[in-house]
Structures are given as C-alpha cells and as structure tokens.
Symmetry: C2
Subunit: 222 residues, 2 copies
Amino acid sequence: MSALNQCRLFAHLSAEDAEDRIAEVPHRHRSFAEGEIIAFKGDAYEELFILLKGTLSAEISDIRGRVLKVETLKAPTMVAAGIVFAERSILPVRLTATEPGTLLILPRSSLIDLAQRDSRILMGLLQDSGNRIRFLADKLRFVQMNSLEEKIAIYFTEQAEFQGRPVIELPYSIEALSELFGVTRPALSRSIGRLVDDGVLERRGRAFRIVDAEELRGRTGD
Amino acid sequence: MSALNQCRLFAHLSAEDAEDRIAEVPHRHRSFAEGEIIAFKGDAYEELFILLKGTLSAEISDIRGRVLKVETLKAPTMVAAGIVFAERSILPVRLTATEPGTLLILPRSSLIDLAQRDSRILMGLLQDSGNRIRFLADKLRFVQMNSLEEKIAIYFTEQAEFQGRPVIELPYSIEALSELFGVTRPALSRSIGRLVDDGVLERRGRAFRIVDAEELRGRTGD
C-alpha cells in the first residue's frame, strides 16, 4: 500500500497527518480483483475514488461497441477528481481493474469537510484540478498539430521562452509528454533522439539545450 | 457592472454576501480600455482575474508570429481559474481587451481564505474547475472525430443514453456546443437543421427527440 501523501490531495501533509484527517470524516475502502469492472461509463460519480493500490484502465467504447483504452491509472492517484465537483457528475469512462488493488472512497461532503479543515488539503485539491486543466488544454493544442516533430519543436521552443534560457528542464516525464502529444513513448524517444543526432538539441541529463533554434523552428512544417 | 454572483465562484451566494466576503480579504480592481493588452502569454498568473465588465480576447501566436484567437471571455467570468493553482502558474494565452471594462483581482491567498471561510465559495471554485475539466476532456474527444455530423450523432446518442430517454435536454447552449465541437455556430445550426429536416431528430423547444436512432448512428461515418 502506498503512503497516502504520495497522492496529490495529501501531498502537503505527512502520511500520518493524512491518515488522521481521513479518520475524522466518513470514508470507506473497497478491494477489487483483477478484471473486475469498478464503475461503468455514465455512472453518477459523486464520491472520489482514490486508488491506493493496483492499476485501473479507463476505457470508452465507441458507437459500434469497440473498447478503446483512454488512460492507465496507477496507484497512488485520484480518479477523475474534477468530475466529482462538475455540475453533471457523470463518469465519462468505464473503469476496469488490470491489477488487484484497493480504493479509498471519499464522499463529496467529506472532501469539502477536509478542504475546509485543512488548507493544505484544499491546496492539494485545487492544484490537482489546475494541473489537469493545464494538461488537457495543452493536449488539445498538440492534438491538432500534424507531425510529432512539429509538436516537439513547438513544445521545446515555448519552454525555452517561458524558462527564459536555451537550456530547458522538461516539466513532464517522457511518459507524460508522450501522453500529452498523443503518441507512444518509443516514438517520442526516437524523434527526440533524431533531433539530438542531427545536432538540433543537446541532451544534458534530464535537461536539453537548444543548439539550433532556427532549425528547430524549421521542423514545424508548412 | 454585473452582479458578482453571476460569476460561478459566487454562484451559491447572494450578490450582497459575495461583496461582504470579498471586502474581508485583500483584493483590488483594475479598469482597462479597448485594445489594451491585459497580460502576456508566459506571464506568471498567481492572482485570479474576475472579469466584472467588458470583453477580453484570449489569443496565442503561432511559431511564426501569427495571432490566433482561442476564446472570447465575456463578463462576468473568471479568467483561467485553474491556472492560478496549477504548479506552473503561467498564463498560456495573451489577454487583449476588445471592449473596455473592469477586473476584480484576487491573490491566490485571498482565494484560499475565501474558500476556507465559506464552503459555498469553495463549492463554486471546485465546480468551476470540474466543469472546465469536463469540457476540455469532451472537446479533446470531439476534435479527433472527422465530420460534424459524426460529432452530433455521437453527442446526441450519448446524451440519450446518459439521460435515459429519447427526448434529450442539451446541457450546453448552441454557442457552447459549437465551441465544444470546434466549429462555428451557424455550421452547427445548419447541420442540426438538416437532421431535423431529414426526420432523424425532432425539435421540441430547447429539447430534441431522437426519432431514428439507427439512422443517427449511421451518420457517424466509417
């Protein structure tokens, strides 16, 4: 079982404090087996699921019934926290367990209580939503671009601009970045590798230096 | 000047209560003229702008410097509320005034204070983020579909499924729905009109009845 404070909601608390806070409000646990369907698309989602252990697959089926995986959720994480507070709290995906595990379930009223009692929990809740909005808005922009090289060129150019220097620290892991771009992780690694081989980027540990900004911009196509 | 409680943050309060709450925390007002640039893309965004009066255009420029409008913001509304709490609070758009107006500016710490003092404000803040996440996640799905007819067919079919009956109330206005689908409002109206003319949908005031679900599904292409 992972420590509770590895989950963003409790990121600003110690694991002990997080457990103490939860003990003060109504909550419950639910164990599940591999292959179990945890919730259906269209279910009311008015209680937050916190995945403490195990792995869930978030799936949709298209209009012809084909199942498409949207996202893999690994513990510890909150499941669709934004939806709990949306005006129509309806789960937009089906949740299927791909590994056995445990959920901590917090009713909406318990979340409100926790956030009011402890500003660190409030901050965790708002940060999680903020990060999610930022990620989705960025993803929406990248999904409309044509090539992976264009996505990389625009992302790295913008990061250099925001960070105010040509050596940039990627704020996401390569895995998260590949999800942002809507490509596989190996495809992203290959494409970045090609830019390094071509002398456009230089790798410096987890950071990158833009060697040839002009050439990088030239990779954006059209 | 619009009443404060028309803004989602204060939606659960009376206008008087909202003004009283704000008076209790640090805040300021800022007036702006038409054409004024309110904030640049890449600016730190750690204070919430609430647009009380006027209209802003949220714009990005592409890698070649061409300006693209992302969204029109009309008072009363919060500006990019999610970003204030994201871990990297950087404004992803430039804000330009297209009509003169006024902003109410609330530092992040004032927002936290307000949310802790009054659970109705906390609920407004969380609902706003939840609605935004839902909208962006839906938009991300629709932007990857090919035709407008496919988007309409899938949206209406899903709504009938969620609402559990063939007569559906659209949860969005036609304007919001056209933004969700990434098309113009007239194009959306025309396309819905065609489905009504073809006897696939029947209009009932603000609601629609799905007359021919089979034919509607058939419009999804491939």
